[in-house]
Symmetry: C2
Subunit: 302 residues, 2 copies
């Protein structure tokens, strides 16, 4: 599992930071979270083939989080994409896509864009993961997303043998969560499976002031990617504008007992982000300012 930061700027991009966009790579699937202007080019530079995405998750409909969708969709069409592209976002997402597909002399001839307007809770389940969302607190309707790998239970081979289960197809049946009968005795999966080990969990807030919903969503996660637009000196401005300070993001990370915090959506005024990182680390040690093209590998739990 790998995170690639494509854009870590606040509303206005800088030479070092492009608009918001984050790639999550899990097994052979690629997920995109937010798609600010210039994302298709950031993907090129990062060496990620845009054809690999099937799902794009948008946190909210402000320009700096969505203006890359038009170019990306058009380029996918240009590359002869056939597979449907699913785009998830708040109420209004369909209208945005309709507007985009009506701008200029747009051509979308090869594939469909399917829009899902989200509310709260689980929105997508894959073979080994689920994606859920919660409303956050920004100046417009906004959501944070959680990508969570399915938990896994280790098969206790010794215990199974003790219970008289012979090695072979019955092992496999139990591992799949089905009961078996041995010597007229029923053996249940719970008898031979260890307690569940939670899978890896990533949470991305989009733009938000600190909020309990994020603390809840991010509980014990591996990586929390949190809005950190301003230094805490500008806490009032941050609140007015629906953003968090670095210190506030670190407080959320601490409360949620996350393993690692990445701070993003950095205002253009901070040309020396290490200062922000120090501010965060005073509250939560495992804090890091995200940079464009930073790659974060998340180790397996089992």
């Amino acid at each position: 599992m790998k995170i690639i930061f494509l854009g870590t700027s606040g509303t206005v991009p800088t030479g070092q930071r492009n608009h918001s966009a984050i790639v999550l790579e899990y097994l052979d699937e690629y997920f995109l979270f937010d798609c600010g202007e210039g994302t298709q080019r950031q993907l090129r530079i990062a060496g990620v083939n845009p054809m690999k995405f099937d799902n794009i998750f948008i946190t909210h409909l402000h320009a700096d989080h969505i203006l890359g969708l038009g170019g990306l969709i058009q380029s996918l069409d240009f590359m002869d994409r056939k597979r449907t592209l699913d785009i998830w976002g708040p109420k209004g997402m369909q209208r945005v896509i309709d507007q985009i597909l009506n701008t200029g002399t747009f051509r979308l001839s090869n594939f469909d864009v399917k829009v899902h307007e989200i509310e709260s809770g689980e929105i997508l389940r894959g073979p080994r993961y689920k994606v859920s969302c919660v409303p956050t607190r920004h100046t417009t309707n906004s959501y944070g997303y959680c990508f969570e790998e399915t938990s896994k239970r280790k098969f206790l081979k010794e215990k199974a043998l003790q219970l008289g289960v012979p090695e072979g197809p019955l092992f496999s049946r139990l591992q799949k969560g089905k009961s078996v009968e041995v010597n007229k005795k029923v053996i249940n999966p719970d008898d031979v499976l260890d307690k569940p080990i939670p899978g890896r969990k990533i949470v991305y807030t989009g733009d938000t002031i600190p909020c309990d919903q994020v603390v809840e969503l991010a509980k014990n996660c591996d990586v929390l990617i949190h809005d950190s637009t301003f230094s805490h000196e500008l806490v009032d401005k941050a609140t007015d504008m629906g953003h968090s300070t670095t210190q506030q993001a670190a407080e959320v990370a601490k409360k949620a007992n996350v393993k690692k915090l990445y701070l993003t959506h950095i205002s253009q005024r901070y040309t020396e982000p290490k200062k922000l990182e120090r501010e965060a680390r005073k509250v939560f040690e495992h804090s890091r300012i995200a940079e464009d093209f930073m790659v974060v590998e998340i180790e397996k739990h089992w």
Copy 2:
């Protein structure tokens, strides 16, 4: 007078080339030609304040030439711009701007965007320049632009003195193109002004197959910036897609007797652009492949 190339890619951007956009700086005015996705960030990197633009000229309404308008307009609003921004482009330009201003939760509260849908001929006249356009030949309604500095006539001081005009306010009157009377004899400006020296002239084609209109528009210009999407091996593809090859662009430059040719809109397939440059130079020596952030100074004619 200075040209700054902000984006020189074909339809799909690469790590080295962003979408089409060119800045022209003349005295204290800044003009933008095309505005592909990511242009606002290219401006940042080039160190050009986007607040300085009053006029943006769009060659045609394909996505790779216009998708930067939304982000640029929003950032100008964010920067508290008050002055009206004039955008020039083909029929349909107004609809594009309307769509852009209706995408997402767009906020445009501080200034007006005034759209001019162009046809042919002179479209804008400044104190010391004019901008004109001609239809070009692409797969959609498209235009090439010409920026031309006003011509200047040198004041022939010796001749004026010989004709009995005393140094002082009468000199100034004649220089401004007005007649004066000296010893009951009328002296006309033509008597004391040398023949006009044409001003500097820049032509940008946007996307087009080679065409006579561009040859005419570019006659004797200082700089011709021409579509050069493909090498001449792909001439059929270029024609089908409404583009020029490098060789064709060079032929246009030669016919138009331009001083310098810059080749742009380079397809992503060319990772070694010097090959294209050699192709052009076989036809027209003063050819150069444009690169992002290349700056071209154009010397004064007087």
